[in-house]
Symmetry: C2
Subunit: 407 residues, 2 copies
Amino acid sequence: MRFSKSFVKTLRTAPKDETARGAQFLSRAGYVHKELAGIYDYLPLGLRVLENIKAIIREELNNIGCQEVLMSSLQNPEPWQKTDRWDIEKMDIWFKTELAAGGELGLAPTHEEPITKMMQSYISSYKDLPVYVYQFQTKFRNELRAKSGIMRTREFLMKDLYSFASSEDEHNKFYHAAEQAYKRIYDRLGIGQDTFQTFASGGVFAKYSHEFQTLTDIGEDTIYYNADKSVVLNEEVLNDEVLTELGVQREELQSAKAAEVGNIFTLGTKYSAPLGLVFNNKDGERKIVLMGCYGIGVSRVMGVIAEKSCDERGLVWPEQVAPYKYYLIGIGKEGTKQAEILYRDHENTILYDDRNLRPGEKFADAELMGIPYRVVISDKTLASNQAEITNRATGESKLVDLNQIQF
Amino acid sequence: MRFSKSFVKTLRTAPKDETARGAQFLSRAGYVHKELAGIYDYLPLGLRVLENIKAIIREELNNIGCQEVLMSSLQNPEPWQKTDRWDIEKMDIWFKTELAAGGELGLAPTHEEPITKMMQSYISSYKDLPVYVYQFQTKFRNELRAKSGIMRTREFLMKDLYSFASSEDEHNKFYHAAEQAYKRIYDRLGIGQDTFQTFASGGVFAKYSHEFQTLTDIGEDTIYYNADKSVVLNEEVLNDEVLTELGVQREELQSAKAAEVGNIFTLGTKYSAPLGLVFNNKDGERKIVLMGCYGIGVSRVMGVIAEKSCDERGLVWPEQVAPYKYYLIGIGKEGTKQAEILYRDHENTILYDDRNLRPGEKFADAELMGIPYRVVISDKTLASNQAEITNRATGESKLVDLNQIQF
């Protein structure tokens, strides 16, 4: 990207009601634009971050055999009535609307009901199982309070995955594969070290579900963990029965603020029974399909990373999710000429600050935007055919031969 | 894709109320799943087609300097009230909903108002102009009647582009660049030959707008054109004044059914004036930004291509938009072994039908799904180290050396 051509500018101030530090930087650095509380637009840099996160998730899910679809937002009430989740008293986050042709519709806050219904067209025998279907889709939730920038919003991008199995064994095998895929995803997103698989309450069909919680002071949740963090649990299951079962003592647990970045649930027949998603087993008997669901809030994860990875000067993106790897600045006549050449050869990985501004202003924007490596080429560095590369996270600078830079 | 692993199956019947032939095939071949009238889910193959269409549009728009964003669906009434498009009497396709925290919201049927408002944060001087901003975004329109499958729906994927200029010259220059980009897009989508830039009514700020209309019997519009198709116009502007201006006689015009696949409008100050999007010109005077808008219904285009490109046996995708280029079938022990090897080396371009079915059933599905080239490897073709390649569009078959196939 050539900065002089970008319609987005860095801003001196964030929206007044934006209190979280990362959220302020996301606005000021030109990643997002706030429409209303809990409703955001993604600007070119923000969209690139979302796409980077999606690409990592997609790759890991495809690797464990998942298939991608895209379902509708507008929802037929009928399957939600069958599972008793249509009434606002039962699920209070619905946005509802009316068809001009008559009848109510909802805006999907999640997709268990429509996907369970849809799968009736494609599942009839044990031979059709197991299958795993996911999407990246915009979800709508009528939250009473939106907060922390893009971490808790009314409209957000979610990856939701649903598994369909013919037996508990089949289900458990995939549940475990999903756990492992989630761990790889958070590692690749650069938050693996601070993200913990956390015991949470499970409901009727499983004793536990699992959340993935990332340590951050701005998190809305509190997690409890033992010394080596081999047992981590959330508040819901912090009781004597669970502690005994998990073999930990209350006194050895520490607590910390954390933000949920994913969750996985064993659904059993919760949706497939009322919606009639059945199959014929090997003996020709009708059985109910066993389901699981597995979510990651993509825009929420972007918000969590922003909050975790920032300092007083701006954002500090992990390399894998950064919109560009390099922030390139040319100083002086020869430095600028050389920067132009490098940029043209590597447009996809370089944000080239070709604006007619003083170097100091560019340095400040490079830090605000959190691009992993700042590359400065000046007449001085060119004397030794080098560039100065500064690591945004560590602040370390070094001179590198131009032909050694891994654009 | 390995067909045996796909959760989607081809179906013998389409939804009862699906009357258009292409729409029936899209359902039966497993591209889409119908939720309700005018509301569809995109299955893995359908999503690949959408992504192929998006990639072509994105590339052409980036080439003329456009920048991609992603705006919200949920809409603040305020900017729409300022332009007098909030009332259902003024714009009858709104879906509206209520915030739990109080207040009305709308679901965006288009984005002139929010983007005009957003650009106030980024445009203040003539130096900030021109800029061109687009998105691929889900639009909601409360149509009284939905029809023709994914051609006219209540929820659909749209590419909408907005231009912002400081002068008419600047605006006209981009308008022309957009016309040319649209022509390249339709060419690459395989419908260029049958798609015509059509004069349509322009409104207050320009005598004409332009539609791009694709000839198809299932189209909702009628277009009128002269012998060499150098002048094409729609019904709105079929009057003596326009005919005189365009230098054509009514008698020389032929008419045909067509479907609109895109449109471009000169908006002038229609939205920028009421919403106060202004800039300082070179002389320091405050001026109102001049706008244009440029739409392509991505899912609609997919529907139009499906209707145009099908025969009695199924779909016939143009190569550029097809979900896979090759439909691979192995027959016999050696043929299957060789097919497996080829598939593993080219998973991204091959739909490999490895199901335990008779060849005839596979041939029928290959035609129903409309994959451009069917590749059959049998013990017989292997005798000469060849495969039989059949062109879906022409029906022609030929034997090709295995190492000559351009996977």
